[in-house]
Amino acid sequence: MTTTLPSASGAAAVRQPRTRVRSLIRAIPLAPAIILMLVFLLGPIVWALYGSLTNTALSGPNAANPQFVGLDNYRQLFTSPTFPLSVVLTLIFVVASAVVGQNGLGLGAALLLRRASKPVRLIVGLVFVGAWVLPEVVAAFAAYAFFHNTGTLNALLAGIGITGPNWLYTYPMVAVILANIWRGSTFSMLVYSAALNEIPDEIKESASIDGAGGFAMFRLITLPMIRRAMAANLLLTTLLTMSVFALIYIMTAGGPGFDSTTLPLLAYQEAFKFSRVGYGTTVAVVLLAIGAVFSVIYVRLLKPEVDI
């Protein structure tokens, strides 16, 4: 025993530098990807951080000579009346359409589809995937036509004797949230279907032998086993939904007033409509920060099993 120890540690000491060199060599093929990520992902973020500290404009003297204004943009943003409204609208939009709507509907559909017969599964699958394969602009116009004052929804309601409201004007957030649920649930359904298929039949079988009913089975077996997929899916849908722009822009353009101006629309409006690029960038940076907070929360909440 004692004689083998030194030789073992000696061998380890010899091997260590070699492994380091080898892992360095192995990392070389990764370099292009890492460089691309640094240039095209980290680069814009750093640039945005810098841009948010200037008063760059699209036109006027500040377009020719933008000045460094420190935290002025942030000070102005945090005291403006539209900012808190916009943050609240963004949170409502994300929670209602992504966390509750897309995840709930996606999980529900995935669970139900496992028990459905093959033709039902096929038809429902087609309907769901239909919304997903539509390009965002097309989906947004379809949703616009559906919720428009004289659109499909109100025509259907009129058919059963109800005069529908002007959804896009009276309930803009409801309209865009429903549209986003319609559009995004497919993704969640696909993720959950895949995760549910991964649960081994033996475990479910032994659980039912132990007397687990439908709900207990879901809570004790299904949910824990799809936790990883759930965390990944929540993270992805949250981040995707937070940056939704075209859907809302086409349906309501952030209006009426600022009643559906989520942060991406506010950033666009400030930068490109009101030509205050620096200020718009500030909004974008805040959006980035909120996204980061969401990511950290999800990763923390679902520890330790989760490694995304």
Binding site: P29, L30, P32, A33, L36, A57, L58, S59, G60, P61, N62, A63, A64, Q76, P81, N149, N166, L168, Y169, T170, A253, G255, P256, G257, F272, K273, F274, S275, R276
Partner: protein, 452 residues
């Protein structure tokens, strides 16, 4: 697994190489041919400007075979056009040589360094003397240099549907002398003619300049206040006139004279109003530009040959008939040379071709513009082009211009926000207060003064 990720890396590296190669090949490919990039705006389907551009291109290319004029019309709303133009102007690779530029953007874009000063070239151009002084001033930058040459100007008037007015029992011709006369007429239409919007006032963020200039500022110019004090160079906040104008808009929407907010805030509304509602008698009256008849012409977007009989026009009254009694607002478009152009001589030459007497006349007639060249203004083809020409030319005497400062485009957006707020039910006082704060935020408290 490993071979998979290695393959992926190789693919990514390949893509990167291709992308770099793409960048370099885009910059090569020089030839003897000079290309002039001309960027302009097309709103709607028919564009008198496009016709003039095509003609100028043909003329210029025939006289200068070594130059290709690359016309790049942007089909968009005027608001998006400014954004696209500004983004193009930021980079040498995309900046246009010749730019069709709204006169209210000239000072702002000149200050941004997007436009080249033209003083020396204009001094050497024999036709420059033909331009009226107001047109010359329209192209001036803050530094006093001329950055753009006026294509034409316009004034605003009150357009009304005669059938609607007759049905409401309002004697024609309609000659309102105060805002109260307008409100009375609207009330009569509301009471007597069903299913008609008596009085449309453009408002809201999506309508952009149509709302802030044609909707708001024409009426503000009829009060005792203004947006900007030209003498002190300060923006006016806390002004009674501003609040009164918002009050007027609030009344017009509150009484249902204008369509409900969900329709009124539609970005395509202006075209619907003059193209469909006014001809069909769905709207009683609207303040709009002198250019409307170009849209009703046979070559226009919505031909309406009977317009001379069905449609009336009147001067816009001041708030209580004071001052000159009537008022108007003027804008107009100009042509400028991009500061990043590599061919300034050719670019300026093309501008002079575009603005020649013949082409200016064609644009003034087909685009129903108010001529800014003396020789064009004297042409019988122009003065007899349509029955509104003398009327709208007369409005030049009482007209107003938008504040000539680089800050104006930003402040205009704040006016749009204020009008949209009152349309949606905010009180005029609150909307005015929010506007005041926003203006102070943009120009700083030192550059504002109280109107009361």
């Amino acid at each position: 697994m490993r071979s998979h990720s290695q393959r992926l890396t190789a693919v990514l590296a390949g893509v990167a190489v291709l992308a770099l190669a793409g960048c370099s090949s885009a910059q090569s490919g020089e030839s003897d041919q000079t290309t002039l990039k001309v960027v302009y705006l097309i709103e709607g389907d028919a564009s008198p400007l496009d016709a003039v551009m095509q003609q100028a291109k043909a003329e210029y290319e025939e006289a200068n075979p070594e130059v290709t004029v690359d016309l790049q019309p942007l089909k968009s709303s005027a608001d998006d056009y400014f954004t696209k133009l500004a983004l193009m102007n930021r980079s040498e690779a995309t900046a246009p040589d010749v730019i069709y530029e709204d006169s209210f953007q000239v000072k702002s874009d000149a200050a941004a360094g997007y436009l080249a000063p033209l003083d020396d070239r204009l001094a050497a151009w024999e036709d420059w003397g033909q331009f009226v002084d107001a047109a010359k001033a329209a192209g001036e930058g803050v530094d006093g240099n001329i950055y753009a040459v006026s294509l034409g100007t316009d004034t605003q008037g009150l357009w009304y549907n005669k059938d609607v007015f007759e049905a409401a029992g309002i004697p024609l011709p309609f000659e309102p002398e105060s805002w109260d006369d307008l409100l009375d007429a609207a009330e009569k239409i509301k009471a007597n003619v069903p299913d008609v919007y008596p009085w449309e006032i453009y408002a809201g963020i999506q309508l952009a300049e149509a709302g802030t200039m044609r909707g708001f500022q024409t009426f503000l110019s009829g009060t005792d206040d203004s947006l900007f004090n030209e003498e002190t160079g300060k923006w006016v906040v806390n002004s009674q006139g501003f609040e009164d104008t918002l009050e007027l808009i609030s009344t017009v929407y509150g009484e249902g004279y204008s369509p409900e907010a969900s329709i009124a805030l539609d970005p395509a509304l202006t075209q619907t109003v003059w193209g469909t509602w006014l001809p069909e008698g769905k709207v009683g009256m609207v303040v709009d530009g002198s250019w409307l008849p170009s849209g009703w012409a046979d070559t226009g977007a919505t031909p309406f040959p009977e317009w001379t009989e069905k449609i009336g026009w009147a001067a816009i009254p001041t708030q209580d008939g004071g001052g000159a009694g009537t008022t108007s607002m003027s804008g107009g478009w100009t042509v400028a040379m991009g500061s990043k152009t590599k061919h300034p001589d050719e670019a300026f030459d093309f501008i002079t071709t575009l603005l020649s007497e013949q082409n200016a006349l064609k644009f003034a007639v087909e685009g129903t513009q108010i001529a800014v060249r003396d020789d064009v203004a004297a042409e019988p083809d122009y003065t007899g082009a349509n029955p509104t020409v003398p009327f709208f030319t007369d409005q030049v005497d009482v007209t107003h211009f938008r504040p000539a400062t680089p800050d104006y485009p930003q402040i205009s957006q704040q006016i749009a926000i204020a009008t949209e707020a009152v349309v949606n039910g905010t009180s005029p006082a609150d909307a005015a207060k929010a506007y005041d704060q926003a203006v102070i935020g943009i120009v700083g408290e030192d550059n504002t003064e109280s109107g009361r």
